[in-house]
């Protein structure tokens, strides 16, 4: 039972890292990406490669994974962010499909559908991790570090510039901010942080294959951000908990096991649609409803454009 809870905790921590890092793009930079599982996957494969071929040091493997994943997201971002926002969503789906194909087909590196197996247990500063509880501790520490970094980032001049773009792109440009540079930076950082989750996953499960990094999972991470509430620190955490804990809760309902999957999907889909319509700020914004808010002043001005 403890192992079950610890494993669930690790998956939850991974989900929180993924959702929070994606939130940098979606919630702060205003880039809707359906390719976050790619960066998670690149991180997992890179960490697995290091662990299998070089060293079982978690810190080193994670550093390499972050670098590789950050580089991949940078290479994606530079050409693709020049297109308009709506098209980026489509481009990111295309990127996800291409990446999934590469994960499956590039046998020499990824091991194809069979994946990479036999990843040794992680070693952190001389401490060999073996039990699920130890992995839970490692995950929690990584999650706190990632969240703290994101919290610093969004309150920094960099985060403020992103928020300025989110509020009014034209005005931010007129103040001398470079939209492309900011968005590329946000995407690169987001990709590098997702690799932390990938590295934890690779060591924890000791096996990676393409099935963990599919379009379905990218959609799921985006759902976490949107359901929880994009653009706040708490939002993705709430969303990740909601979506990760949900299947565990469904276990308590008497239902033939073949219905569990479809019912889950139905509930996710319906909750995204309903939230978008009735509660666009997400679950984490409940407290905001209690705060009175003045209506937005209508801007005056002439008719000339």
């Amino acid at each position: 039972m403890i192992a079950y809870i610890a494993n669930l905790g690790v998956l939850l921590g991974i989900a929180v890292i993924l959702a929070s890092s994606l939130n940098l793009m979606v919630g702060y930079a205003g880039i809707f990406s359906v390719a976050h599982a790619v960066f998670y996957g690149v991180g997992a494969y890179a960490a697995a490669k290091i662990a299998l071929g070089v060293t079982d040091s978690f810190l080193l493997a994670t550093a390499v994974a972050m670098f590789v994943s950050g580089a991949v997201s940078f290479l994606l971002a530079v050409p693709v962010l020049r297109v308009r926002e709506e098209y980026f969503v489509v481009a990111s789906i295309g990127f996800q499909v291409v990446a999934s194909t590469i994960f499956t087909s590039w046998h020499a590196v990824t091991g194809g559908m069979g994946g990479l197996a036999g990843i040794p247990p992680a070693r952190v500063l001389g401490w060999q991790l073996t039990s699920p509880v130890e992995y839970l501790i490692l995950t929690a520490v990584c999650m706190v570090l990632v969240l703290a970094f994101i919290a610093v980032l969004v309150k920094s001049p960099f985060g403020r510039a992103l928020k300025a773009f989110r509020d009014d792109e034209v005005a931010a440009t007129a103040l001398g901010k470079d939209p492309l540079a900011l968005r590329v930076a946000a995407t690169t950082i987001s990709g590098a942080l997702a690799a932390v989750a990938g590295s934890i996953y690779a060591f924890h499960v000791s096996f990676v294959n393409p099935e963990s990094f599919t379009l379905d999972y990218s959609v799921m991470i985006l759902a976490m951000v949107i359901i929880g509430g994009a653009g706040s620190l708490a939002g993705p955490i709430v969303g990740a908990v909601f979506i990760t804990a949900f299947p565990a809760l469904l276990n308590f309902i008497e239902m033939p096991s073949r219905y569990v999957g479809p019912v889950e999907q139905l509930i996710y889909g319906a909750s995204i649609v309903l939230l978008m319509v009735f509660w666009p700020n997400g679950l984490a914004s409940i407290w905001r409803l209690l705060r009175p808010r003045r209506p937005v002043q209508a801007a005056g001005g002439g008719t000339e454009r």
Binding site: P157, A161, K163, A174, L175
Partner: protein, 248 residues
């Protein structure tokens, strides 16, 4: 040397020529008002100068370099900033953040104390110090207008392009605005102002450029422009414009 030298600027949208040919040289350290009926091309001219639109022909020289083809952010970094008539504030951010974000470098992890002090000084200057932590969307109309000004005043700027900064302001706010504009001038800044209210134009301008159908019809001191009956006719509607277009 002129603070800004616009020569032979032309812009058409499809077959619709908005600016056929504008030539205008701004004298440094003066406040020049750009007046003219609605649709005269005033805001379009701002967009052409600041890189939001690319002219079909002509040049805009500033400190020896041609601005044509530069991105808006490059133009701003060279020392020209504009305000928008529809304000475009960062509504979800506080008054303080609106001004702070304008002046700080984006690629930093820590906020510099000097930037905060500078921001507070600018807010003090425009009279928004007590609204420091209010969200922009919760400000009154006049306060929003002053925040719009404060944001570009925080930049290191020589040339201000202000698009109807005083429209809709009441008496006391207008006085504050006038004082602010005068202080910008005293510091040696050059200002190009789009303004419909001719009382304000008369009060603050050193020069007036009269724009009609995308051409500079006159460029002179306020006294001479206001003495020119043909121009006042054009402006006040005998040329087919509704009279209310002149007042705000």
């Amino acid at each position: 040397m002129a603070a800004l030298d616009i020569h032979g600027l032309r812009k058409a949208f499809g077959g619709n020529v908005i600016i056929p040919d504008v030539t205008l040289a701004l004298e440094p350290g003066l406040i020049t008002s750009l007046v003219g009926p609605n649709g005269a091309g005033k805001t379009t001219l701002f967009n052409l100068i600041t890189g939001f639109l690319r002219p079909d022909a002509g040049s805009v020289h500033y400190k020896g370099s041609d601005l044509v083809g530069l991105s808006p952010q490059r133009v701003t970094r060279l020392g020209i900033a504009r305000s928008f008539q529809d304000l475009r504030l960062f509504n979800e951010m506080t008054v303080f953040e609106n001004v702070l974000v304008a002046q700080e470098s984006s690629f930093r992890l820590w906020t510099r104390a000097a930037a905060c002090r500078h921001t507070d000084a600018v807010l003090e200057r425009v009279g928004l110090a007590d609204k420091r932590d209010t969200r922009a969307m919760d400000l009154s109309y006049a306060e929003r207008k002053f925040l719009n000004l404060a944001r570009i005043m925080a930049l290191d700027i020589d040339l201000f392009l202000l698009d109807e900064p005083a429209s809709g302001l009441d008496g006391p706010s207008r006085t504050t605005f006038h004082t602010l504009l005068q202080s910008l001038k005293d510091e040696g800044h050059t200002v190009l102002l789009i303004e419909h209210n001719l009382d304000i134009v008369r009060e603050v301008s050193d020069r007036i450029a009269f724009l009609n159908k995308g051409e500079v019809m006159a460029f002179d001191t306020p006294e001479r422009i206001f003495a020119n009956e043909r121009l006042t006719d054009l402006y006040f509607g005998t040329a087919g414009r509704p009279a209310e277009a002149a007042s705000c």
